[in-house]
């Protein structure tokens, strides 16, 4: 039988929303406080959902230790306590939570092969969350 397994992880990072293609006024009008020059930070919660047949031998969709190990190494170690604007994936792209959610989805989609990735949900604050399903 097919089940969906979801796991939530926390990391903290900073960003500034600013587009080189916009004037200073347009950046301010578009991004408001998020355009403040030195950036600001969030405690992000990333919720990863994978799916698959429940293995008859283990009772699992995939081994949680594999998922935790992958996310810790490839996502939390990568983004935790970083300034997102300084990272190469955001050299040409504004590190909005939409774009960060897509980046994380693609990392998991490419590298985690023990189960099917259903979605990545990213909470920027308790009030804002974003979800990408590919």
């Amino acid at each position: 039988m097919k089940a969906h397994l979801s796991r939530r992880y926390l990391f903290s990072a900073s960003h500034r929303l600013h587009s080189e293609e916009m004037s200073a006024e347009e950046n301010q009008a578009t991004y408001g406080k998020c355009n403040n020059p030195y950036g600001h930070g969030h405690n992000y919660i990333v919720e990863v959902t994978v799916s698959g047949q429940v293995d008859a031998q283990t009772g699992m969709v995939c081994n949680l230790a594999d998922l935790d190990g992958f996310i810790e190494q490839e996502v939390l170690a990568r983004y935790g306590h970083e300034n997102l604007n300084t990272m190469k994936e955001f050299a040409q792209e504004v590190p909005t939570t939409e774009n960060l959610c897509i980046q994380i989805y693609e990392i998991v989609q490419r590298g985690f092969l023990h189960a099917h990735l259903e979605r990545v949900r990213l909470e920027e604050t308790m009030m804002n969350s974003f979800e990408y399903r590919g």
Binding site: M1, K2, A3, H4, L5, S6, R7, R8, Y9, T49, V54, Q57, T58, G59, M60, V61, N63, L64, A65
Partner: protein, 136 residues
Amino acid sequence: MVYLTRKAEFSASHLYHNPEFSPEENRRVFGKCNNPHGHGHNYTLEVTVKGEVDPRSGFVVDLKRLKEVMHREVLDAMDHRFLNKEVPEFLHQIPTTENIAIAIWQRLVTKLDRATLHRVRVYETPDLFVDFYGEA
């Protein structure tokens, strides 16, 4: 179509162990969850049903009835139990969160009169949960 979700909590203990595995393999696959005397969780159950809103009552389902069914079929059997020893489904099957969600689905699916079961979600901790939609 409207979806309605009802939550409940239960506390239970379990351990992960496959008698077909060697002790070393059990330890490697299940880690601390293989500790021989078990450990416990506060589980949160979310049952989502779907259906058309009844024009007379304005309900998808009578919540009181749904609550009673959840109590009778699930909580009475699993709350404050050692799942491996006291719940029939887990005498020969590992009580992982996946299998608990499937077992709860199977206990509920034929017992709901008006609405259709849509999803069973079981939180083992606030950071780990499984959804089962009755898919083969």
